[in-house]
Symmetry: C2
Subunit: 403 residues, 2 copies
């Protein structure tokens, strides 16, 4: 037989790494184990039970009584499903922009032919609601307002209730990117009047990448059903997806069975830990990390009070080479650190502490490693200072879950 490509067998098994980047974060071993279960038909009654269980857990995490599902794609698929299902060509959407992933929304919105009105605010600060208030007043027919709960490019935790209120006052739907925050930070779909939110399986949830756990409000579904034109995407059509996940169980795509086993187990782990305990674990580890980084002069991009616990972008000190440090971390310590995106490329490192990666032991390992590396690349560091400050923080939370 002709070989079109040489057979290059890679090393197996994949070496363990400490994943402190933007995701994937580490997967819980129970999740990987659950994924080994047998294949099954996508309409088999035994499998429908799994779908129902996932839906139920998603309702509890999203705090909603509305439709929940797992979209068969990554977080970006969740983003595109929302925009392409909610918007018809020419529809007005106001996008609150304060980072890299907000810009991805603009790109997607423009591709589907929506009338995208971006409001660009500073990267590295929460979006000022008054900018939305000002803009939305100029229009009578804004169909959708979008925001990102946790902008991972800047590390901003965006308050959502104010934006939601303005959107509702002007009769617009509200779509939220919860990719980085879902199951790591509180989000309340029904109380906060959110019409569509989506996340990703590989961040706080602690499952592998490939699914986008989402929620669609009744009002959003109604809007989709009343469209004059069909959404441009068949694969990401939320109405068709909801018909498979809802009581009708109409065949759409072949469900990614193993990944669904995986997020089901991940959601069980979330519910066993308890949402409040889990949010607190993320908070404590982020606080310790921040204290440690600050002690060695690595300053967070986001101002105190607006910081995301899930990911902490910090300014790279002058004269320090971005890539050199990230390579040393990976090669010497098997630690993955996130790089800067877009305007922040080369200027920022991003430390992710999400789901299974949000653990005291990794915070301390990382701080020790970065101390060691920085002093060797010519940036003076008081050895042990970062670890000492982080430990001080941990000691103020005796008896709390940190791992």
């Amino acid at each position: 037989m002709t070989q079109y490509a040489e057979k290059v067998i890679t090393a197996q098994p994949m070496p363990n790494k400490i994943l402190l980047g933007p995701g994937p974060s580490m997967a819980h071993p129970r999740v990987l184990q659950a994924m080994m279960q047998s294949m099954i038909g996508y309409l088999d009654p035994d499998f429908i039970e799994v779908l129902d269980e996932i839906s139920g857990h998603l309702k509890n995490v999203y705090k909603t009584n509305q439709s929940t599902l797992a979209i068969p794609g990554t977080g970006s698929a969740g983003m595109e499903a929302g925009l392409s299902s909610l918007l018809e060509p020419g529809d007005k959407v106001i996008m609150c922009i304060y980072g890299f992933f907000c810009e991805r929304m603009v790109e997607m919105g423009e591709r589907i032919g929506a009338n995208v009105i971006p409001i660009r605010a500073e990267w590295g600060a929460p979006f000022p609601e008054e900018l939305l208030e000002e803009e939305i007043k100029k229009h009578s027919d804004v169909k959708l307002v979008t925001a990102i709960h946790g902008e991972t490019s800047t590390g901003i935790a965006q308050p959502l209730e104010g934006i939601s209120k303005i959107a509702k006052q002007h009769d617009a739907l509200f779509m939220v990117d919860a990719v980085t925050t879902f199951s790591g930070r509180n989000i309340e779909i029904d109380n906060w009047n959110i019409d569509y939110a989506y996340s990703a399986s590989q961040k706080c949830l602690g499952a592998p990448p490939g699914l986008s756990p989402a929620v669609v409000s009744d009002r959003a579904l109604e809007t989709i059903r009343n469209r004059k034109t069909k959404p441009v995407s068949w694969y990401l059509d939320l109405e068709l997806l909801c018909k498979y996940w809802g009581e009708e169980r109409v065949y759409h795509h072949t469900a990614p069975v193993s990944m669904l086993y995986g997020i089901n187990e991940a959601l069980r782990i979330v519910m066993e830990e308890g949402l409040e305990t889990r949010f607190e674990r993320h908070r404590i580890n982020a606080e310790a990390l921040n204290a440690g980084l600050q002690a060695i002069g690595l300053n967070a991009v986001a101002p105190q009070g607006s910081r995301l616990e899930q990911i902490t972008p910090v300014w790279i000190p002058d004269g320090v080479d971005d890539m050199e440090v990230r390579d040393m971390l990976l090669n010497e310590f098997s630690i993955e650190l996130g790089r800067g995106l877009g305007d922040f490329s080369g200027k920022v490192w991003r430390v992710g502490l999400m789901g299974e990666s949000s653990k005291q032991e990794y915070v301390l390992t990382f701080l020790s490693a970065i101390e060691s590396i920085l002093s060797r690349v010519g940036y003076e560091v008081a050895q042990g200072a970062a670890v000492a400050e982080a430990t001080k923080i941990y000691n103020t939370y005796p008896g709390k879950k940190k791992s």
Copy 2:
């Protein structure tokens, strides 16, 4: 904490089933094992090796020197990626239609605003090339011709070389759905001049559903790069996907790491078995199945000579209830059988023998089971006849791989 949904924990682990439907087919245990490897960053050098290995294996199976990749979605995502990347609004595409999944292409093409020209031929027979010849002559500007290698709704194996030749003569690109056939039946991308083909991980490949292994010709990539407008889909933009899979390694989506470990192992298994041996295994098992079914009066939809080895749709005998029989198969024998789709709903059963599901033992189990059930639902069957005929076929292939 308020519970939004009751906690209903489903039984674990999932019971083993014999999957003889349209997919997922059964997964090789080595594939599931490989999926347990650790998470890793999507640009980690150790992971890039995995991507390169997958690309190489895909080149060998698709028999191509052009760009290969795994699209992060199911087979339908592969379909949509092709149509939405190759076609701009108003572009003419001729679709050869001879089954349910061909109609899905029409739906997708229309949604993205292409000028879809469907040529509808009979369901259950190969598409007559002369219909394409006739139609394409009427136009000077057909951009794309589409066909399906194995229509799983009818069980037709469609010859592709003739269609390809006509498309090329009229300077059109040629896109092929290889969802059901990839790694189970011969397909030669370069020799047959195919510009885009896609498949699914859960059919002949023996991995879980969720990825679409695809190939994009240089000419197709060139066409995409020269588009006047951006594709409507960002998530399924083949140019962006190829930039991640190609040498540039530009971040697009977060790669579904575990699923990629899985298909890499599945592709290794394919190469270890050898393509010819694997195709022959599918042929022998399909032949035995057909002989067995015919012996008890269950006639294939597809005429001899045009039958797909991967899936065998048969007419349900008069007076036999579709659902009743499928339920009995599932409940008594844990066997999943495929149902009819579209026009064939309620009229046809579909027996899938793909990848790990294409095994002598499953063929014999299924034939014994269906004999037993049919005689109990009032359809007279000579007990043992189906199994006897299948065994006769197997005996004509001594020493050949059947499992």
